[in-house]
């Protein structure tokens, strides 16, 4: 890491790569340090994370209950498989003009794009998780007289949690991507818009500094999720293998 940075530093200092396109890392980091003291960066970050969090939460609230219902009914799954497969591959970005038309350029547009993109991984993972309930586990619960609802809550759902967790982790990075995209393309307030402004204004160092902020944010969110997953799913094969390898 350090070696890569020092190579970059010398290449850019000697103008092998034009510093107008790629400023020396030291300059990027000093700009970043300066920005950390400014209110703009923090309000941008709050805006981006706000879109991420609310979008992800809404998508979760819609997709997981829907996935449970669809996953538990063979008929519903057959009926909805086609519409889901049709809507899912539409890139959220393709909806930008439509969203701007309906919601304008504010937070709502960003939220819509994030929710739309996050919905699918969560929905599909939940459906698979519910369908993958072990028939022997189900028979066990039935043989001990558990009713439909009890079986759903006590057997199907815990079994589906690993799937839902994977969906959540995928959707978390998708949410960040879409929040920044919406800010870049539509101009909703946040890190994305500031990157755009910095680029247009020729503030190359600031632009790179903001990109670094987004990278670090994505990495931090991912490690938080991974940590929670390890805690909650300590019983699951994937985590047990991890613990074993350590």
């Amino acid at each position: 890491m350090l070696a890569a940075l020092s190579v970059l530093e010398s290449v850019t200092r000697t103008e092998l790569i034009s510093s107008r396109h790629f400023p020396p890392p030291t300059k990027i980091f000093s700009t970043l340090a300066r920005e950390l003291g400014s209110a703009t960066l923090w309000s941008d970050l709050a805006n981006t994370l706000g879109g991420w969090a609310l979008g992800l939460a809404l998508a979760f609230a819609i997709a997981v209950p829907l996935g449970i219902v669809v996953g538990s009914s063979a008929l519903l799954h057959r009926l909805l498989a086609l519409p889901i497969e049709f809507l899912r591959p539409i890139p959220s970005v393709a909806l930008v003009p439509l969203v701007v038309l309906v919601y304008g350029t504010g937070f709502q547009s960003k939220l819509f794009l994030v929710v739309f993109a996050c919905l699918w991984p969560l929905l599909i993972q939940t459906i698979y998780g519910v369908q993958d309930t072990d028939p022997v586990a189900m028979d066990t619960a039935r043989s001990f007289g558990l009713g439909r609802t009890e079986r759903l809550v006590l057997v199907t759902l815990p079994g589906a949690v690993p799937y839902i967790a994977t969906g959540l982790r995928i959707s978390s990075s998708v949410a960040l991507m879409l929040a920044v995209t919406a800010e870049l393309v539509i101009g909703s307030a946040g890190l994305g818009r500031s990157i755009n402004l910095a680029g247009e204004g020729g503030a190359v160092e600031l632009m790179y500094a903001l990109i670094v902020v987004i990278g670090v944010t994505g990495w931090a969110l991912n490690s938080v999720f991974a940590r929670i997953e390890r805690r909650v799913l300590h019983w699951h094969v994937s985590v047990r293998r991890l613990e074993h390898a350590r």
Binding site: D139, T140, S143, F144, G145, L146, P158, W235
Partner: protein, 266 residues
């Protein structure tokens, strides 16, 4: 009246041209405190029979009657032990939680956890109550499943090839454990197996099924002395005789031509 009566039980999977009869007009009874083994060539519908008896599967015709009441869904008086212990136990629960799991419906509160611990103690896992199933060996996992069935305090214990996926030594230990528990709690056992030695060693009576669709080929009374012992019982001439007899019957069955739909089983 017997404790458990199976009356002309038939199960056909599918319909029309694709209809596959699994068991056909099975009739037998199980008395209170009896240990009945069900055995037959592979694919003869043993598991189908057990699932119908357990109330997990609706028969196509006939009935299962427990203490004079027709079984339409899993009765509170029965507990089932599956062959696939690793799938039957919940990996997100400890041994204690697994055993206490079916007790939540009996609303025992704190007593449930205590009963679970006692049951785990009975099967020799008193030191492993807080272990997760995947931290235990196969034999120990099946002990947890047995403890779970016991804690439920059933009058009939149904077992579906419970020891088919453990090694020989563990299997012998588990067989003796079941005999012990049955002695102590006076529970009635219906035990499905494909292992002839196991059936003769454990059972008071052996129901031998024909090849599919399963009918009753023969009922063999096992008069071996109690308590049974892995070495002494198996050294008896009577043990060898019974085992050879059952073996011969099953061999004949397996070699028989597939039954045509209207053929009469003996």
């Amino acid at each position: 009246m017997s404790l458990l009566e199976v009356h002309e039980l038939s199960k056909v999977y599918g319909e029309g041209a694709a209809a596959t009869p699994a068991i056909s007009e099975l009739t037998f009874a199980v008395e209170e405190r009896e240990f009945v083994c069900v055995i037959g060539p592979s694919g003869c519908g043993k598991t189908t029979l057990l699932r119908c008896v357990a109330g997990l599967l609706a028969p196509t015709a006939g009935s299962v009657v427990l203490r004079g009441k027709r079984v339409a869904r899993p009765p509170d008086e029965m507990a089932l032990v599956f062959q696939e212990y690793n799938r039957s136990l919940f990996p997100w629960m400890t041994a204690r939680q697994n055993v206490a799991f079916p007790l939540r419906r009996k609303r025992l509160g704190k007593q449930g956890a205590a009963r679970a611990e006692t049951a785990l103690d009975e099967v020799g896992l008193g030191r492993f109550v807080d272990h997760y199933p995947w931290q235990l060996s196969g034999g120990m996992q099946q002990r947890v499943a047995i403890a779970r069935a016991l804690a439920y305090q059933p009058s009939v214990l149904l077992m579906d090839e419970p020891f088919a996926s453990v090694d020989a030594q563990t299997r012998a230990d588990l067989e003796d454990l079941i005999l012990q528990l049955r002695q102590r709690f006076g529970v009635t056992v219906v035990f499905v197996t494909h292992d002839i030695d196991e059936a003769v060693y454990l059972g008071d009576r052996i129901v031998v099924l024909t090849r599919a669709p399963g009918r009753i080929r023969e009922t063999v009374l096992v008069g071996l002395p109690e308590p049974r012992d892995q070495i002494e019982t198996k050294a008896l001439a009577e043990f060898t005789r019974l085992r050879t007899h059952v073996n011969r019957v099953i061999k004949q069955e397996a070699a028989r031509q597939p039954a045509s739909p209207d053929a009469q089983g003996s």
